[in-house]
Symmetry: C2
Subunit: 117 residues, 2 copies
């Protein structure tokens, strides 16, 4: 299987598992958003809890230039580890939640070079 296709399937699998685990009520919708053209994948809760608006993005993962970017993770799941478990090498996973200068030290991928080494 093509590497990019493997990464897409891994990301979609993880998000689909998360939505299945998510608690549901009638007024709140747990939404998967898969933009397979732009390779953007989100999981959100949208709706109303009594008179309170609920709008919350739990997970956002992008695939850019052959790398899997974790852009948001408000769950307790270690998404990077889940991606590794599905066969994605650490150097192809970018922790977008870490500031760029820290990424070379995360053990995961980096889109920046380490200077002065």
């Amino acid at each position: 299987m093509d590497k990019l296709e493997q990464y897409r399937q891994a990301v979609q699998k993880i998000l689909t598992q998360q939505v299945a685990e998510d608690t549901q009520n009638d007024e709140i919708e747990s939404q998967l958003v898969f933009d397979t053209e732009r390779d953007r994948y989100l999981l959100l809760d949208v709706g109303w809890q009594d008179l309170k608006r609920v709008y919350h993005c739990f997970i956002h993962i992008d695939i850019k230039n052959g790398k899997v970017w974790i852009q948001r993770n408000m769950t307790e799941t270690d998404l990077a580890q889940a991606l590794v478990n599905l066969g994605i090498p650490k150097e192809d996973i970018i922790l977008g939640l870490q500031p760029p200068y820290k990424r070379p030290y995360t053990g995961y991928g980096s889109n920046h070079l380490i200077m002065n080494q």
Copy 2:
């Protein structure tokens, strides 16, 4: 043109215009997310501003059961009016940002019946 296809094109057109108007910098990415299978359409800013994480969803519109749902609007654009301007009838636009009990009184569509009339 099929009604649903017209609605999809209108929503995509509005979001594409908004992203074009959005200011950009190198570290912040303005993202369109179009899930044409589930009919979910978002506009987000994702990135870093110096040492501050930026993650912000500006617009989210869904199409469900032939109705266009405005789920989020953090812009100054009147999205409902923009949809009307593109030929979508008011009764097919749901203001998701209004609590369900208020929607029958918005002049736009409602997925709830007005009781006791």
